[in-house]
């Protein structure tokens, strides 16, 4: 008799296991010789991170079809000698400790008309999920975990502008988690650049109602016209040209900003990072190990997806000739998805004088789970997937913002050089909603919300003093460098009446409408 293969449908099971910090012990080590070490750093990092989230219970769905993995299988793994299943397992993490009996009672209660009660229990303690792929050496698939709290123990602010809500269906319960998807590179269909871009697109494509591609689709799109490594699969990395091609293919516009040396205290890189990350455009960071940077030989780099900012309380003056402070001076570190490590990994930003060139460059130091810093890496570039109609860059916003901030600091000496400049993109509808809380006059609120035509994304310049916001400048993000782009100057509550005339004069000069 011929053996029966695939004659029946698979059966799923749900198991509950208590969480332990040695999370990796739940994963079977690959049998046979593998190139990487075991356990992979990602599993150790997950144990540390979930412990910080105070995870108590893991619920395991033993049969889960994952959209990303099944496409990877169709593109690549289906042609392996080893028969990889097309399904995964999915782990759900909970803050509450509960066992299988409790789980069964939750489902029983829901089945007897008490869904809200069961749902309340599960929702309260839900800490997200991780897909476990049937790939022995790279098991971590699509994972969404929440971020850590908004303040660090030392009082720094954590800001995450690129996260979104993910709806999770578990045995009839609808749960949700707010975060940004992460996954480990498998070196089959994805390398670091693929997974970093995949994470980045998870936010911006969703926000723009565009299709969110799988890693395999990103690799295919990137390799359509250019093969940097000679073959696209197995995936051996992407260059910036290929990354740009993939971004374009999925309906967005790639903006590349090269890292600039720090001169006269002006940290250009921090300004770019702040502007794009605070706007919710998770940029890819291209970095290279410092040791390689010091050497003259060309080396490959690494890609990260930047998700969050670590900010100090006060902006400070970085250049004595400037009469203002740049909000970028508050930036002390970043939270990144590093597929060598895990989601929301902290990386410290510092300065380093390159011996070879004497340039001062922006250096990133990523902290590993055991507290040991990784090797330092030099920032090479940001790659930002932008909606195509956003033509105005942070640099061009800053060109106007820096001039206005400098003039504001000089013309309002009572502010004691404490004028602070901030810059980002906001959606016009969001700004209009917020503006109704600015304390504008009725005429001003009407003029802004009913009579002023705004681009969907606004370039927003914010000027603040010690007593709060002074004024905002709204810029048309669709405009080109050749044309003026200032639409309106909106007065804020921190502006004294005698200073209003100054802002009025600014508005006339830059061709903007004054709204007060």
């Amino acid at each position: 008799m011929i053996e029966r293969h695939a004659h029946t449908y698979p059966e799923g099971k749900i198991r509950l296991i208590p969480f332990q910090k040695e999370f990796w012990r739940e994963f079977p080590a690959p049998s046979g010789w593998v190139e990487g070490t075991w356990p992979p750093t990602q599993l150790r990092y997950f144990g540390e991170y979930l412990a910080q989230l105070q995870c108590k219970t893991i619920l395991v769905e033993t049969h889960y079809i994952d959209r990303d993995y099944i496409y990877d299988t169709a593109t690549f793994y289906a042609r392996n000698l080893r028969s990889y299943p097309n399904y995964c397992q999915r782990l759900h993490f909970f803050f509450e400790a509960f066992d299988e009996a409790r789980w069964r009672s939750l489902l029983k209660d829901a089945n007897h008309g008490e869904m809200p009660k069961s749902l309340k229990f599960l929702e309260k303690g839900y800490l997200g999920f991780a897909v476990v792929r049937p790939l022995p050496g790279s098991p971590i698939g699509r994972t969404v975990l929440p971020t850590l709290g908004s303040k660090t123990d030392a009082g720094f602010a954590r800001e995450f502008h690129s996260i979104r809500d993910y709806v999770v269906h578990l045995a009839g319960f609808k749960l949700s988690v707010s975060g940004l998807a992460f996954q480990q590179q498998d070196q089959g269909v994805s390398a670091c650049a693929t997974t970093a871009l995949w994470s980045s697109l998870h936010h911006v494509a969703s926000k723009e109602h565009l299709y969110i591609p799988t890693p395999a689709e990103i690799t295919e799109a990137a390799a359509r016209y250019s093969l940097a490594g000679g073959r696209s699969l197995p995936q051996e990395g992407l260059n910036l040209q290929q990354i740009s091609e993939a971004i374009r293919y999925f309906g967005l516009s790639p903006l590349i900003v090269e890292s600039q040396p720090i001169e006269q205290g002006v940290e250009h890189d921090k300004a770019q990072l702040l502007g794009y990350i605070a706007s919710g455009f998770a940029p890819l960071l291209a970095i290279r190990p410092l040791a390689a940077f010091e050497a003259t030989r060309r080396t490959d780099g690494h890609a990260l997806c930047c998700v969050g900012l670590k900010m100090s309380d006060q902006a400070h003056q970085t250049n004595e000739n400037f009469a203002f402070r740049d909000t970028a001076s508050r930036l002390v570190g970043l939270y990144v998805h590093d597929d060598r490590l895990g989601p929301y990994a902290f990386t410290k930003l510092s300065q380093y004088t390159v011996k070879r060139t004497s340039q001062i460059r922006t250096v990133l130091t990523i902290a590993w789970p055991d507290g040991q810093p990784d090797e330092d890496a030099v920032l090479e570039a940001l790659v930002v997937p932008l909606p195509p109609k956003v033509r105005l860059t942070i640099t061009r916003m800053r060109a106007l913002g820096l001039s206005l901030a400098q003039a504001t600091g000089q013309l309002m000496p009572n502010l004691g050089k404490k004028v602070t400049l901030n810059y980002r993109y906001v959606l016009a509808p969001d700004y209009r909603v917020a503006a109704l809380g600015f304390g504008l006059s009725d005429e001003g609120a009407y003029a802004l919300n009913c009579e002023t035509v705004l681009s969907r994304y606004l370039g927003l310049l914010e000027f603040a003093g010690p007593n709060g916001p002074l004024y905002d400048v709204l810029m048309d993000s669709t405009e080109t460098p050749a044309n003026p782009a200032a639409i309106a100057c909106v007065c804020r509550h921190g502006l004294a009446s005698k200073e209003l005339e100054i802002v009025d004069s600014f508005a006339r000069k830059i061709g903007a409408r004054l709204i007060k």
Binding site: G36, T37, P40, Q42, Q184, Q185, Q187, A191, A193, A196, A228, G229, E236, G237, L238, N239, L240, Q241, S244, L255, I256, V257, E258, Q260, E263, Q264, V266, H268, A271, Q272, A286, D300, G301, H302, A303, F322, D339, R340, L341, E380, A381, T395, R398, A399, L402, S403, L404, Q406, A407, Q410, L411, V453, S505, F506, A507, R508, K509, G511, A512, R513
Partner: protein
């Protein structure tokens, strides 16, 4: 005249200035504010220049391959 103006900002203030030709300050105080603003533009010019240069991508950067394997 009407045809030439249809792509300009919908800004009555700006339009009236355009009608008058070159933008002129309304008062001595406004003149001073504009002078300070122009001086400020000169003060930050080198910063802006540096940052605009960062948006011009070199072929070396464009070909930088990102491929660090997992640890």
């Amino acid at each position: 005249m009407k045809d030439e103006r249809h792509n300009r900002a919908d800004n009555p203030q700006a339009e009236s200035n355009v009608r008058e030709g070159e933008l002129k300050p309304r008062s001595e105080e406004e003149k001073r504010v504009w002078e300070v603003l122009e001086q400020a533009r000169q003060n930050v010019k080198s910063v802006v220049k540096k940052e605009l240069e960062a948006e011009i991508v070199t072929s070396e950067l464009f070909n930088l391959r990102l491929r660090t394997p997992a640890r």
